[in-house]
């Protein structure tokens, strides 16, 4: 039986702590079917019993309305979301400099760029994409049965950087929405 596959069934935090030495142990001799079943049962327990998922403490996390049950999502999606904000941030900065401080060089030099329709759509829709990218991977649905009552909760499980990206995205969306309203109504 391929022991490496069975070790992969353990939770990530468990593997971070014990994978190397478990592999070492399993490489000492052939892994029997009984050992394989024992590993399967161990992996199941490690998933079910939170205290067993040892290893480095998870990164500091912020909760909005629920109990944490999962480790924090990786930062990859928050980083991509942050990159999505570069274009609208440049646009808003140049607009603010022009209409707020009378420094129009940046905006005017890029005016043909901003008024190019596809760029306009991308600029307006980027904060929405960034908001979705930063929030959706950090949402966790938890369902618990307590005394015959089923309780459900949607939890945002995110670090400070992810929350900052989501807040900035929301702010930009709000600005674009206000601009849209003032221009059209």
């Amino acid at each position: 039986m391929k022991s490496s596959i069975l070790i992969r069934l353990y939770p990530r935090r468990w593997r971070a702590r014990y994978e190397d030495e478990m592999r070492e142990l399993l490489e000492e001799g052939p892994v029997s079917v009984r050992d394989g079943l024992d590993l399967l049962r161990g992996a199941l327990e490690a998933h079910l019993i939170r205290d067993l998922a040892l290893g480095p403490e998870p990164r500091r996390q912020t909760t909005l309305g629920g109990v944490m049950e999962h480790p924090l999502p990786t930062r990859r999606s928050a980083t991509v979301a942050g990159l999505f904000l570069c274009l609208p941030a440049t646009f808003l900065l140049s607009v603010t400099m022009k209409y707020g401080f009378g420094y129009d060089t940046v905006f005017d030099s890029l005016e043909s760029f901003w008024t190019f329709k596809p760029i306009e759509y991308i600029t307006v829709l980027s904060p929405l994409a960034a908001l979705l990218l930063s929030v959706v991977p950090a949402l966790r649905a938890t369902v618990e049965r307590e005394g015959g009552v089923v309780k459900g909760a949607l939890v945002l499980q995110a670090g400070a950087a992810r929350i900052a990206v989501a807040a900035v995205s929301f702010g930009m969306l709000f600005l674009f929405f206000v601009y849209f309203l003032t221009e059209n109504f």
Partner: protein
């Protein structure tokens, strides 16, 4: 006196065996398996062994010994020694009572 391994459930026996094994000297996983097999005639499965190790390490009863290779020996901590002594004393009391009752039956 409450048993230190009382809430380990079905893992209390493997955990006790790990503590007994480490009471001799620090050992890595494979050595523990061999030692426990010699002591009891039963070989612990790798999942059971590491389930016990994780529980004991979480309680601070055992700790890793710094090692340069992948084999990570574990040692008994002072808290682990106390827990083992208490657990064995409890078992000793049960064994003594059982033997006495058998002798008088």
């Amino acid at each position: 006196m409450p048993e230190p391994l009382g809430d380990f459930g079905r893992h209390s026996e493997p955990a006790l065996l790990v503590l007994v094994s480490l009471a001799e000297k620090p050992k890595h996983g494979y050595s523990m398996m061999d030692d426990i097999e010699r002591l009891t005639g039963t070989r612990l499965g790798p999942g059971t062994l590491y389930g016990a190790i994780a529980r004991l390490e979480g309680r601070g009863f055992i700790a890793k010994v710094e090692a340069t290779d992948r084999r990570k020996p574990y040692r008994l901590t002072p808290a682990g020694e106390d827990a083992l002594s208490t657990q064995l004393a409890g078992l000793q009391a049960v064994v003594s009572a059982g033997l006495k009752r058998i002798a008088t039956a």
